[in-house]
Symmetry: C2
Subunit: 329 residues, 2 copies
């Protein structure tokens, strides 16, 4: 087993445990020669610091938690990549947990994170209730909201303007000559879906919008939505999907039924995931700075952790961007 602790290293190097700790945590406090000796011993004995002992004594760990809604959605994997890159650069480890849209799972995950005494938590909340997050804060765990505006002023958040995004999407469809629009969305209890609809309506200025609310935001649901739209009379000539997974399913459903895209129906998605550009009729979409979202959120969180005195809370709102491809040309 791994019986080599700071104590053994100290003995091997002929110094006290305290000095070894200094080499580990404040190398500048130790003379070059002893430091070299200690470092050699560490390598030779294969010493690995006991993170728990360290956390226990120091009172805080070098880990942050990341809680996402659906790790299967490329949007969140991109965010995750951004988080990991920054955290890893600054010597923090990331504990990733997936709430899979379930509130109870999210709460259990947050409890685990609290037990691990993570330094902070990055979270895309699965609902609007601020209570679990406030509880974390009471315990001294910093919280940054990802893809969701902050509930309160003394909290950081990084989000993208979904109202603008919805508006841009629909304005683009209208400028292409669309007249009968449909919005295919996931549950409207999800803030993102709701905001995008609000944006869509704003662009329409009172003209009608057919809203089709699906229970999930997956390709399968998108395809079912296509079947539904086509089976009812008066099919739309333009469809705005609340995310690219829905849009890809919609695309497949339309093509399968012999509907030409974009000639018969123009189609626009949301998120601009990789697969959007790679689909057979490449998908027009609303791009979000996904990777940046993760990066910036993590930078805010770690700043809050490392400089609690000078840290200024920020609510950052990015603007989404239209990416035109074949599905609306």
């Amino acid at each position: 087993m791994n019986a080599v602790g700071i104590r053994q290293v100290a003995e091997h190097a002929g110094v006290s445990p305290g000095t070894v700790s200094n080499v580990l945590n404040r190398p500048e406090k130790v003379s070059a020669s002893t430091r070299a000796r200690v470092e050699a011993s560490i390598r030779e004995l294969g010493f690995v610091r006991h993170g728990s002992a360290s956390t226990l004594r120091a009172g805080h760990s070098k880990t942050v938690g990341l809680s996402v809604i659906d790790i299967g959605n490329p949007f969140f994997t991109d965010v995750t990549a951004g988080v990991e890159d920054v955290a890893s650069d600054r010597g923090y480890a990331v504990i990733l947990s997936n709430s899979a849209g379930s509130r109870s799972k999210e709460e259990r995950n947050l409890l685990v994170l609290a037990e691990q005494r993570v330094r902070g938590v990055l979270i895309t909340p699965s609902d609007e209730d601020p209570e679990p997050l406030d509880r974390l804060r009471e315990r001294g765990i910093n919280v940054v909201l990802v893809d969701h505006p902050a509930h309160r002023a003394d909290q950081c958040s990084v989000a993208v303007n979904d109202v603008t995004g919805g508006q841009t999407a629909v304005a683009h469809l209208l400028s292409g000559g669309a007249a009968r629009l449909a919005y295919v969305t996931g549950p409207l209890s999800i803030r993102q879906c709701l905001d995008r609809r609000t944006g869509a309506e704003r662009a329409l200025r009172g003209r009608p919008l057919r809203v089709l609310e699906m229970p999930a935001m997956t390709p399968r649901a998108g395809q079912q939505a296509a079947e539904k739209l086509l089976s009812e009379g008066d099919p739309p000539d333009a469809v705005f999907c609340a995310n690219d997974l829905l849009a890809l399913g919609m695309l497949r459903g339309l093509l399968h039924a012999g509907v030409r895209v974009p000639d018969d129906v123009a189609l626009i998605g949301y998120d601009d995931i990789d697969f959007a550009a790679a689909s057979a009729v490449s998908l027009t979409s609303i791009r979000q700075p996904t990777y940046q979202l993760g990066r910036v959120a993590t930078e805010l969180l770690l700043d809050e952790c490392d400089n609690p005195g000078t840290h200024a809370h920020q609510q950052i709102m990015f603007q989404p961007e239209l990416v035109v491809r074949e599905s609306t040309r």
Copy 2:
């Protein structure tokens, strides 16, 4: 701050800290009445166990590490889902780390896991070197290989037979009348890519196979491969891609150039990710029991952790399965 520890709970409930610990860890040792009293105090004070202190004293944590090669690949997100479900059921937390194909990143991540004193590690290794894994084992951290056969007999692994998979794929293409085959793959230093080629060659029994090795396994790389194949003379009439991301890019590249799929070129991918069924020409693919892979690997690992005495090491090999869709019909 969170100054409420087991000590405060004990005081509040009028018992000793040892009893509180027993309520937490072996509730059956405590009489029903005191247990109820202690549990009430825990709730009332909002006590959260300090995981580090617990790990330090107990010598082991309730966490496992999961190290994957590319969290952006739906194959690995599916595996992750399986891992999470089992771990969560058994009270373990999962620390997810992404090696992004980089050996040095993998090593850094494993070090973090070792520092955290995870109980075990699930890993899809990014290369063939068993040394980092052996080092973990020396430190008493159990290791289960995922999607990779074990290096040694006293180690668990869960994999899928990639040679059979490659053979099945190419046999299917041949039975559809294909004569000029190409294999589009990622780096052949990756075992999976290599094995699938071996299987392909086995099905071909000496007939020629054009191998196109791309540096990445992404849709973009697949599209580039399509351009390359079409620009050279004598294009293939059937293409086998080493994964679905490549295949989706290939599909787009082919369609874009006016090549009909499957009429002009039959196409088969590997992994059967969700997007394979949702693409415009739905993709024939080799399905792997991805979610099961994660589940079974985790069950093996936790069995090894919880019953070190009776645990029998197993090297499990699943068989892949052909899923025929439009791209080869």
